[in-house]
């Protein structure tokens, strides 16, 4: 339907407003991250733009600079304290390793499982699917205590072995992500008509070749979407990471330590928080062109 001119303008205005509403917290966060402490903690007014930007918060959290030194250099004496504890470079690496690892594990398993669920008839298929989804109904906190015990026994805690710690976190994220990933991938596979599989088989392809050369390339977009979802979940997960690891500090857990007994380090929290948006953002940019569902277009009639 073609909208009349006033409606079009109204629609655009509303769209901009809604977008602005959703983007505002991110903007505010980014602003906070470059404000000097005096601007963040101004008790008389809300400081929007009239402050002298500072990179101290990034310097400390992302480059491991000493805050005391920076403060002295810049002649700021207020709230100086703490040192190494705010260096978040390790956390970023930890988060990267765990998120990328768990995303890879989840995606591979989900794609294979979803293909089987979509294409092969086997006893208990529907039950299995419900059971898979059922796993997701359980709140992680409900399984936390047994999980910690299990991890301790299985040697999957980083206090025993750092690498096992990474593996442990990847595994639990994969487990939490799998139900949704399988379901999502199944819907993408279901969108590819079975005739395509059959055509490939008649063309001489084995089941594996059909999957690898025909069906999988047709659901590339779906794989990308699933991977993004898993990555974002792993990147932002807090609870399990907090309980299952000690040396490994993923970004959300790290940020939480900035709330200290001597005060909340809003500048650092904002800086790391803003920086933490960037990897997800890059990841989404990378797979964005695959995020188009129309990829199966053309294999079918109109």
């Amino acid at each position: 339907m073609e909208l009349s001119r006033p409606w079009q303008i109204l629609r655009d205005v509303v769209a901009v407003l809604v977008t602005g509403l959703f983007m505002f917290p991110i903007l505010w966060w980014a602003l906070t991250s470059i404000k000097p402490i005096s601007a963040i903690f101004d008790k008389d007014r809300v400081v929007f733009f009239d402050f002298v930007p500072t990179w101290i918060n990034y310097g400390v959290t992302m480059l491991g600079m000493s805050r005391s030194q920076l403060a002295i250099d810049q002649g700021i004496g207020m709230g100086v304290g703490g040192a190494e504890a705010y260096d978040s470079r390790r956390s970023i690496i930890d988060s990267m390793v765990v998120s990328v690892g768990s995303t890879a594990v989840t995606t591979v398993i989900a794609v294979l499982a979803a293909y089987a669920l979509s294409r092969m008839a086997f006893r208990g298929r529907a039950t299995f699917l419900n059971w898979v989804l059922g796993q997701r109904f359980m709140p992680p906190i409900a399984i936390l205590i047994p999980l910690v015990t299990i991890y301790k026994t299985a040697g999957l805690r980083d206090t025993d072995n750092l690498y096992m710690g990474y593996l442990g976190l990847m595994l639990i994220y994969a487990l939490i992500n799998l139900p949704i990933a399988v379901l999502l991938m199944k819907s993408f596979f279901d969108d590819v008509p079975k005739d395509v599989d059959e055509a490939a088989m008649i063309d001489g392809a084995t089941r594996i070749q059909t999957f690898r050369k025909v069906v999988l390339p047709m659901v590339k977009g779906g794989v990308a979407a699933t991977a993004v979802l898993c990555f974002i979940f792993s990147w932002t997960e807090f609870l399990l990471s907090l309980f299952l690891t000690t040396d490994i500090r993923t970004v959300p857990v790290k940020i939480q330590t900035f709330v200290t007994s001597t005060g909340n380090e809003w500048g650092f929290i904002a800086a790391l928080g803003t920086a933490a948006v960037i990897p997800s953002f890059i990841f989404i940019l990378l797979v964005q062109r695959h995020l188009v569902r129309g990829l199966t277009l053309g294999s079918l009639k109109e």
Partner: protein, 351 residues
């Protein structure tokens, strides 16, 4: 090149039997059309020949070899699907060469075969396009190209034209037939469109509810339907079928009108029958059965007259330029040697 033999084939889905023992011989190089209304088992039968559907009991042979348990890829068949089932992520060229690449043929041979198929199907300008960039008819040709590059023993078509518009359908019909004339590959073609079947087939197999009703050349099934179902299904407009009972000099229908019969006929006096006459064999005449005009449809070469005859609507076709209006009374006479009689109870033709 191969013959296909279907022997006593049954198909059950759980407890539901959908194909009830089909015997069919398809000769090497022939074009056989499986025709029937939806749900008659024609696609199931085709898919059993292709190996996409398991065979509950019976045997399917291709080129004399029993293929019941042979994987589709090893049956040396090619199939064209109703929705084309193209590989959307591959260019037209790769769609067509996929089977040859899987078979690890030398690149030179692949290029040659693809070029040959593209030439036959007029796809040369489109080889480097993706299926989504093609029109419906072009996609249909790609699906056919994919089938012919392999030089298979049997072509299987599953309602390949039903997604095309009417004009394109007629054109593709001719193209498929030409292709068959040229390649002489055994072809099994499934359709519910009786005109497609009539125009393309060497042999038509008419199916209903999982059994074969009649097998014959297009004109055989048109001129000599062996039962009421075939008589009704083949032909457009459909054959006029009037219920009645055989009396001394004809068939007496519901309102007492007596329709004429040829001197020699196989019906017994008093037998309940269905009197069948094709519209083109029922003509307006000076003296015949009285009928009241309902609708007149001029098609150009001829006029279709729908009229009420003996309490039932019948269709008569004439090439005379009659000027008729609703409720006009006309006389209709059947061609005596073109009358079909069917037993009312069994539906079988009384030949």
């Amino acid at each position: 090149m191969a013959s296909v033999n279907v022997k006593k084939v049954f198909k059950k889905y759980g407890d539901v039997e959908v194909v009830h023992g089909i015997d069919l011989e398809i000769e090497d190089g022939s074009f056989v059309v499986l025709l029937g209304p939806s749900g008659c088992g024609k696609s199931t039968l085709l898919r059993m020949i292709a190996g996409l559907e398991s065979i509950t009991s019976g045997t399917v042979e291709i080129a004399g070899r029993r293929v019941n348990d042979v994987h589709p890829k090893d049956r040396n068949i090619a199939m064209v699907f109703q929705n084309y089932a193209l590989y959307a992520h591959m260019k037209v060229r790769d769609n067509m060469s996929f089977s040859l690449q899987l078979a690890k043929r030398p690149q030179a041979e692949i290029d040659e075969k693809v070029a040959w198929a593209a030439k036959i199907l007029n796809l040369e300008p489109y080889l480097d396009r993706y299926p989504r960039e093609l029109s419906g008819g072009q996609r249909q040709r790609v699906a056919m190209g994919r089938a012919i590059v392999r030089n298979p023993a049997v072509f299987l078509f599953d309602e390949p034209l039903s997604n095309l518009d009417a004009k394109l359908r007629v054109q593709m019909r001719t193209e498929i037939k030409e292709l068959h004339e040229r390649l002489k590959t055994t072809t099994v073609y499934v359709t519910h469109d009786q005109i497609e079947a009539m125009t393309m087939a060497d042999k038509i197999v008419i199916l209903r509810d999982g059994v074969i009703e009649q097998v014959g050349t297009p004109l055989e099934v048109y001129d000599h339907p062996t039962n009421l179902f075939v008589a009704e299904f083949i032909g457009s407009p459909a054959m006029n079928l009037l219920r009645g009972a055989v009396v001394k000099d004809g068939v007496k229908v519901a309102d007492g009108t007596v329709l004429p019969l040829p001197a020699k006929h196989k019906a017994k006096a008093g037998q309940k029958v269905v009197y069948g006459i094709r519209p083109e064999h029922l003509k307006p005449s000076r003296k015949g059965s009285k009928a009241k005009v309902v609708v007149v449809e001029p098609t150009g070469p001829e006029i279709h007259i729908y009229a009420d005859l003996g309490g039932q609507e019948v269709c008569a076709i004439t090439d005379e330029r009659l000027v008729l209006a609703r409720d006009d009374m006309i006389d209709l006479s059947p061609k005596l040697d073109k009358i079909h009689l069917f037993d009312l109870e069994s539906g079988k033709a009384l030949a």
